[in-house]
Symmetry: C2
Subunit: 305 residues, 2 copies
Amino acid sequence: MNKITIHSPATVANIVCGFDILGFALNKPNDTITLSISDKVGVEIINEDDFNLPTQAEDNVCGAALLALLEETPEINGFKLISKKNIKPGSGIGSSAASAAGVVFAANKLLNNKYTNADLVRFAMNGEKVASGVKHADNIAPAIYGGVTLIRSIHPLDIIKINAPELHVTVIHPQIEVRTSDARQILKQNILLKNAIKQWGNIAALVAGFINHDYDLIGRSLEDVIIEPVRSILIPGFDEVKKKCKEVGALGGGISGSGPSIFMLSQNANTARVVENVMKGIYNKIGVDFQTHVTTINQEGCKVI
Amino acid sequence: MNKITIHSPATVANIVCGFDILGFALNKPNDTITLSISDKVGVEIINEDDFNLPTQAEDNVCGAALLALLEETPEINGFKLISKKNIKPGSGIGSSAASAAGVVFAANKLLNNKYTNADLVRFAMNGEKVASGVKHADNIAPAIYGGVTLIRSIHPLDIIKINAPELHVTVIHPQIEVRTSDARQILKQNILLKNAIKQWGNIAALVAGFINHDYDLIGRSLEDVIIEPVRSILIPGFDEVKKKCKEVGALGGGISGSGPSIFMLSQNANTARVVENVMKGIYNKIGVDFQTHVTTINQEGCKVI
């Protein structure tokens, strides 16, 4: 096999109290990536979408991830990549991670699974660095492993798959720009110990709620006293969305990644649809364009199609 | 029944990365408490040990906890209490919590289980306030619930029992004084966000390790980048104990509560004994007197005997 087509999923990072450590994959939207081994040195990139992304390998998320993989793969010269993105860049649902994770996942299939998932995360983080300046793994890990993933540590890389129950996800992407780098810069470098204690109480309980399939506990633990109060200011309508969605039965939710998308978790598909209507109503009133997704947690991550 | 005798267990609070939210109960040592309902108003206290604790109810840990319970229990006038403590006050293994939890547990038995475990924690926290000035529950919760307990929140009180695997515990109590109030005061009120992120990665992974009975993950997650670097300075030999105990097979460990006791977790009884010998060797060399305990996690908490 020297050519493959895969789907790479959108992902939600941070999961409220899980800033920088917790993420999950979504069953839609997906990017479609076709990759082939090439005799030419380096990475040739063809974009089949309207996002006008760079085609120079080192400036491109997919390119940077594949170059990192190629450095440890002397047996081949390069790759040819055809990318068709459905996940809008800048949406906050892991568009760059879907690119970076998808290409190294595809490359690994072409290389007969030479690399471990942990290796793939390591390569893909070079793509994230192109996108946001930071080698973070909280979107890449769920895109590759599927399900809910916990990143205990980046150095050394330590990723744990968390066995969560069936969860329905509603996402709204208000069509405003929140740059990841700006969203990082407004965070305070120092925080109060007492707030950190609240946060680690919630994250510990959220993980217990996931593993024990305790929906009530998941709902009670979806609280962020550190990041959300700062970042939500960048997202018009955030507080109202959160309040009203919980009133109609959502377990809870918050900013997806660094925004501007907002996600809500629900125990069943019907509630997730009602939540979507509540979100639409609020953004129609505000007068900001939006896109919504109603989906579930994707348990397998990237997959060959 | 109007008289009862119970055992109340020692407990380890904080569990390395679980500062203020995580604790577990030990199978030894135990305090022995005999409680009876009395016609006299208030709490009469008889101490059958050599610790010379106050006998005025409002100045005594047991007394304060029982007075809080009596306030909501108009059907009785008071209690008579005989306390025989085996858990040394100031040891860092929940001596005051054993008193406070034990008396309200015993009272509840005399009252035919009128109150929930959460109520008992609420009453007992008044005893902790007498001991340390702070109404914390991280020793009281495991003493009452047994096993490993997570306190997601104090206001409102939200306690989750974490289903941990069999774990062997070695504790050394160096006979030096570290006052809880001093140990609290030396903590910085502000911490770095990047350290807090490491901490919540570890606590999330530790809880996952406990519930999934993953000993390796438990070991990797027993890391504290915030409290231990500050507090361990108060405990001579701390770094050497930790390093050498891990070298002989301990999963990990740290300061018990606010110290001076140090605890280590092991996967089997034999390792826990080897760990004890390592600890003894280090403190013999330093020339500080000590007491050790080799035990297991107590799954039931306080119990009637």
